[in-house]
Amino acid sequence: MAALNAIGVQRIPLQVLERDDVRFDTWANVVLHPRGCAAVLETPLGWRRGDDAAAAVRVLSSDGESWQSSEPPTTLGERYEMIMRALTGIEDADEVRRSAPLLAKPDGPDSFVLGFRAWSLDDVIELAREHKRLYSGLTRVIAIGRILNLRVPLSMLQNRDFDHAAWSAFLSAAKRRTRLYDEPTVLVE
């Protein structure tokens, strides 16, 4: 969307999903950092041993120790601030890779897993409306019935005057090439 704004489009093509067609989940970050998990554990979040899913932030070190931020946040804004504070600790990481939380494992001695309390769709909507934006690689969205290969001409998006007839004609033509994609989900117990 930032790219489209940078180009200066007047219209942005959206697929509006029904909430029942969205599965919302969380990515864990597998981090490779020269200082290992100390990079995060030095941030002032009252770290203590544990792996409570209600904690805002959790760390799994390469030697198998689990740490969690101290008190579960009482508000979404507080939770957001804690997460953003933890993420500042890995801004100079050598590598950050996203992984499904249940599958995330440290890759080696300087590696650790940074996990987060699971997001709900309502959480993310509330944050967005308060202009509290998250770093990419935190939220995982699985959509049922994605429309792919739409190919909306840039000229149509840059036109100051919205041409309903042209849009309708475009959609009629697009039906022949677009693809409806139900994203596969894998559940690991």
């Binding site: 790219a3 509006v16 967005a128 149509m156």
Partner: protein, 82 residues
């Protein structure tokens, strides 16, 4: 799973002011996507969102396909937010 000829009723063209992102844009990704869109002359995939009142909150913001993004990211180093 895929099917041809989907109903396209869920597509809208919104003005930028109606659309609220939920993620921080990464400059190098933005530059790469700008280049790709200008080169192609079209936006390949619609941006996924949910309606919230008179606005739309973006859930997934992928105007390019995965293969294109990887092909066009040769100069981007792996790292935070990659």
């Amino acid at each position: 799973m895929s099917a041809k000829n989907p109903a396209l009723d869920s597509l809208v063209l919104a003005s930028p002011g109606e659309v609220i992102p939920h993620e921080i844009a990464i400059d190098r990704h933005v530059r790469r996507i700008v280049d790709a869109i200008l080169e192609d002359g079209y936006v390949r995939h619609p941006i996924l969102c949910v309606a919230v009142g008179a606005q739309y909150v973006v859930l997934r913001d992928t105007p390019l396909g995965c293969a294109e993004r990887h092909r066009r990211s040769e100069n981007s180093a792996p790292g935070f937010g990659a």
